[in-house]
Symmetry: C2
Subunit: 181 residues, 2 copies
Amino acid sequence: MTQAPIDSARSLFVRRWGEMAASWGVSRTMAEIHALLFLAPHPLCTDDVMEQLEVSRGSASTNLRQLVNWGLVSRNHRRNDRKEYFEADRDVWQMFETILRERRRREVQPMVETIERCLEMVEPARKNGVAEANEEAEVLRKRLTDLQEFCEIMNNLFNLVTRSGRDQVEPIAKRLTSLVE
Amino acid sequence: MTQAPIDSARSLFVRRWGEMAASWGVSRTMAEIHALLFLAPHPLCTDDVMEQLEVSRGSASTNLRQLVNWGLVSRNHRRNDRKEYFEADRDVWQMFETILRERRRREVQPMVETIERCLEMVEPARKNGVAEANEEAEVLRKRLTDLQEFCEIMNNLFNLVTRSGRDQVEPIAKRLTSLVE
DNA sequence: CTATATTTTCAGTACATTCTGAAAGGATCG
DNA sequence: CGATCCTTTCAGAATGTACTGAAAATATAG
């Protein structure tokens, strides 16, 4: 027997989570599965996902694997059952950290490396050639180093926060937060 | 006359910035234009953008307007010139704040409202019906309130940081940062 | 006010991403 | 080891997003 209001709430949440994720560059279905698992009271198997989200087996399989790769979902087995059951990490802070770390690794790191490379390309051009060219090189260098410095600060802040651990950070954040209200 | 190494650096940066943005749900061209303007030593007009990125007039116009809407780029005029010239905000901290604020408004806020709605739907179901159903409702409520609390903390932190202003935050961030090294 | 320069819009098209469904591949049981 | 159950893979299809180019709209100069 299904509980109508509970199911409606779940389905609304799942849909919206999918929409939000889509605008952050995460495929809708992957996010919907993540939301479904996040809300589920117990682990779900592939068929549960297929049924509840009306997606194909291929899509369910692929997206579940990606979620496992991201570290947001874990696989579980049961005795006397060949199926795999999937369970989402429910610790919101941990989830956030996982997502940030993965995105940094996949998307920010290459950008940071590129900035470094660009600076190496610009450096030799700085005092070589006409004055106008030098000035242009100087401007470019400034823009790149500003960005680089910002990235370093953000990177270190992230490291600091994650190394301190959630138990240290959460109360501080809450305390700071009370300053705003 | 074009300076080969400078141009190469610029073009490399622009391309990578576009790639990164694409995986964050921002269209490649819009991000490339943003990068181009960010690095440019002076404002550019639509034709400059079309030429340097090899995109159509329609695309340049649409994407420039979007950048202006985001508050990342401003339009300028010149005397005796009908063209519009576009200039990016070069303050990296300001840029970051603008992006976060816009994304919160466009993408996070609707999610927060949805969580609220979901909680309203679940509430009446809590002590109404069989024990099993109550338990499910309780679990769902827990998940939603955990997420809600997290969103509130993040929201307040963001407000705190942006109200304090960049001049207050940057040195603190740098100081904290030095703890990591 | 007309001529001209510039921007915006949008229908059609190109491109990229994601899904489907079935076949192949693995794993586990008796 | 064969039968069964489950997962993965992938070619083709569906879908969605973003671009193009030209026509319409707008703005400025004379």
